[in-house]
């Protein structure tokens, strides 16, 4: 029995092209298609399908909401997301929602059939074009070494300047606030950066947050 596929995409020409392509595979059969989000939810609920090919950007309801709704009714439905977005944020969101596969539209011809078969078997599938992205974001996020216990090497004045810098004050404003010259602020700042081995303002702000000098919390 061939895998029953449902195509949800607002672009009719794309849909028909995809349909032709999929119908040529012996083990795949397209059982229905829709062009917007609401229709998709209704149609998928009424039809027996194995795999839903879902477009991210559709009029009416976005792909993510459709996936959410459809999975509420049929938690075991295999959803393959077809998208133009080569982005980790979209990828993360959809996998969080419970879709099985994420395929870029530009690689449809070669990979979509593979993705459908994998998803139908309950496996997860990410477009090979995106593996680089996934790995780099995984590897890139090394936990930064916490810079702690070095607060004591700073003078009270330097701590003051650090806090003000973290709050986004400019040198001029700090000079005015502490009644010192802008040159002195510059010196304090250089000292702070060297002592704490900060490479950038961003690092300084992060440090201030981690050590409770800068409070962003909601009351």
């Amino acid at each position: 029995m061939p895998i029953r596929i449902f195509i949800a995409d607002d672009h009719a020409v794309f849909r028909s092209g995809l349909k032709v392509l999929l119908e040529k595979e012996a083990d795949l059969s397209v059982v229905g298609e829709t062009g917007n989000g609401f229709d998709t939810i209704r149609a998928v609920a009424e039809t027996d399908v194995d795999v839903l090919l879902l477009d991210v950007a559709m009029p009416g309801l976005s792909g993510a909401r459709v996936a959410e709704e459809v999975l509420k009714g049929k938690p075991n439905l295999a959803i393959v997301v077809l998208t133009m977005h080569e982005d980790e944020y979209y990828l993360q969101e959809f996998f969080r929602l419970g879709v099985r596969a994420y395929v870029l539209k530009k690689s449809t011809g070669t990979d979509v059939a593979q993705a459908i078969r994998a998803a139908q078997k309950g496996k997860q599938y990410i477009d090979p074009a995106l593996t680089g992205l996934v790995i780099s974001s995984y590897v890139g996020r090394q936990p930064t070494k916490p810079k702690s216990a070095r607060l004591d090497i700073m003078t009270p004045r330097e701590l003051e300047v650090l806090t003000l810098l973290a709050y986004g004050h400019t040198n001029g404003e700090i000079a005015e606030k502490l009644c010192i010259s802008e040159r002195t602020v510059e010196t304090h700042r250089t000292n702070i950066m060297t002592k704490m081995e900060f490479k950038s303002r961003a690092e300084l702000v992060r440090f201030a947050i981690d050590h409770g000098m800068l409070k962003l919390a909601v009351d």
């Binding site: 794309f14 977005h85 539209k105 011809g109 070669t110 040198n171 962003l216």
Partner: protein, 490 residues
């Protein structure tokens, strides 16, 4: 040197208050007038008084000579000395009387311990014939000295010395009276100057107050017109100027308002257009290309006829597929540049992360990025997100093009009532004032500033040659900033 001294004195005098100037003029005039009057009166009066004293001395000499004629001729010394004492008693100004015999021998005198040597001889002219007193200076004052012959000089001579105390007393009292009068005049003058300055400077003070108020922004302030003189006319002119200023300001404000709303509209239209073009490219054009790709793929792979295959060899297929893929990527890039969908779908944090990621890939620049937000806050209003994103884009372009920096840092601090974005680089920096003049680089900065202005925020740029550049954008957030939390708008 002398000139600067003079001009500094002049400046000091000019910076006195008007009150002092008027009083100064009054007092200097009064003093000059008083001094001249005093000198003139004193000279005239002292002439007259000395003449009178001289005449009186002569008359006394004559009468003494008459009185002493008999006792001198008889040699009655007792009577002589009595007459001398009486004379001195009746007129205390008489300093001395010397009676001499016809051969000029001293018979009697009022000196008790001998006659001073310079009086031992008759030194003064005889009257008659020459009736002019000789004046002798002494410790006690000027002495009018005259010698009168007794009985034509046959019997003897009487020499008389009269002190001018009476004259000096009169002159002193005259001087005192004049001085008193002068003081009185000066006092009246000061009071008068006080009143006058009050009258003169009151409208000026009002004018100054009005000018200050206008400077503080109270443009409806008008000066009171007190009189119709020069100052009154100044006040009228001032009021006309204030009126014109107010109108001008209203015009400027109206224009500024129009300009702001125009900019707002322009920005809005630009963003809307970019968004729709971006979507159009991405969704429709891109999808059509994808459909084309699918058709080519299915045509190539599954064409059963050998004939068709001959016309459509595999290599050509791949070539076409490849070209279409490239076009699709091109379209994506274009759409992304117009407006990244991630900004609308996932917000500023993700969009900036993505943007910075791209920059790091293409430019030789290390970038630190921190987006700090307390948990549980809604997304920023889309207008704020778009503005911050565009500013970050512009700043990135500046850093890459001009700053020659090796390191940059992007920090976004989200707080409840405001959001702050700090963009800092360690590049060569620039002279803000000089850049303002050039205007080239500044157009971008101006654009950033305008965007922030539209949102009621502040835009600060801190830079100096060789010290990198810091840009800080701070945008206030409304209490109920109903962020667009919907993902995927279309």
């Amino acid at each position: 040197m002398f000139r600067t001294f003079v001009s500094s004195i002049r400046w000091r005098i000019l910076s006195f208050p008007i009150f002092l100037k008027i009083i100064g003029i009054g007092i200097i005039t009064a003093m000059l007038f008083g001094a001249v009057t005093l000198l003139q009166t004193r000279a005239t009066t002292s002439d007259i008084l000395y003449q009178l004293l001289e005449q009186k001395t002569i008359a006394m000499g004559h009468s003494l000579a008459d009185t002493l004629e008999r006792p001198t001729s008889t040699g009655d010394y007792y009577a002589i000395s009595r007459h001398l004492k009486e004379a001195q008693k009746s007129f205390p100004e008489i300093r001395y009387i010397i009676v001499r015999s016809h051969n000029e021998k001293v018979i009697a005198s009022t000196f008790e311990s001998g006659i001073p040597p310079d009086l031992s001889k008759i030194s003064s002219p005889l009257c008659p014939p020459k009736c002019t007193a000789k004046t002798i200076g002494s410790d006690e004052g000027i002495i009018m000295d005259i010698s009168t012959p007794i009985a034509g000089g046959y019997v003897g001579f009487v020499q008389l010395g009269v002190l001018d105390h009476i004259v000096t007393r009169e002159l002193d009292s005259l001087r005192n009276r004049v001085l008193w009068a002068l003081f009185l005049c000066a006092a009246i003058g000061i009071a008068y100057a006080f009143m006058l300055t009050g009258i003169l400077t009151k409208p000026i003070r009002h004018l100054v107050q009005a000018a200050n108020k206008i400077r503080e922004g109270q443009f409806a302030t008008r000066a009171t017109v007190f009189s119709n003189d020069e100052i009154g006319r100044l006040a009228v002119a001032f009021n006309q100027m204030a009126e014109a200023l107010m109108q001008y300001r209203q015009e400027v404000q109206a224009k500024e308002k129009a300009r702001l709303s125009l900019i707002e509209r322009t920005v809005q239209i630009q963003e809307d257009e970019r968004k729709s073009i971006s979507r159009e490219l991405h969704d429709h054009f891109g999808q059509s290309l994808l459909a084309l790709l699918l058709q080519v793929q299915s045509g190539c792979k599954y064409s059963p006829s050998r004939c068709a295959r001959a016309h459509f060899p595999d290599s050509l297929c791949f070539h076409i597929e490849d070209t279409i893929r490239k076009i699709i990527e091109e379209v994506h890039r274009l759409a992304w540049g117009m407006r990244p969908s991630i900004l609308d779908d996932y917000g500023l944090e993700s969009a900036l992360a993505r943007h910075i990621g791209e920059v790091i890939k293409t430019a030789r620049l290390e970038i630190d990025y921190q987006f700090l937000s307390p948990d549980g806050l809604k997304r920023l209003p889309i207008g704020v997100e778009v503005s911050l994103y565009r500013i970050a884009q512009e700043a990135t372009t500046n850093i890459i093009k001009h700053a020659k920096a090796s390191h940059a840092s992007f920090v976004v601090l989200r707080q409840i009532h405001e959001v702050t974005m700090l963009i800092e680089d360690n590049g060569q920096g620039f002279d803000f004032a000089a850049a303002n003049e050039k205007g080239d680089q500044c157009l971008g900065l101006l654009g950033m500033r305008e965007r922030v202005n539209l949102l009621g925020g502040s835009f600060v740029i801190e830079s100096a040659p060789g010290e990198g550049t810091t840009i800080r954008v701070r945008i206030p957030l409304a209490e109920d900033s109903n962020a667009n939390t919907d993902l995927h708008s279309g």
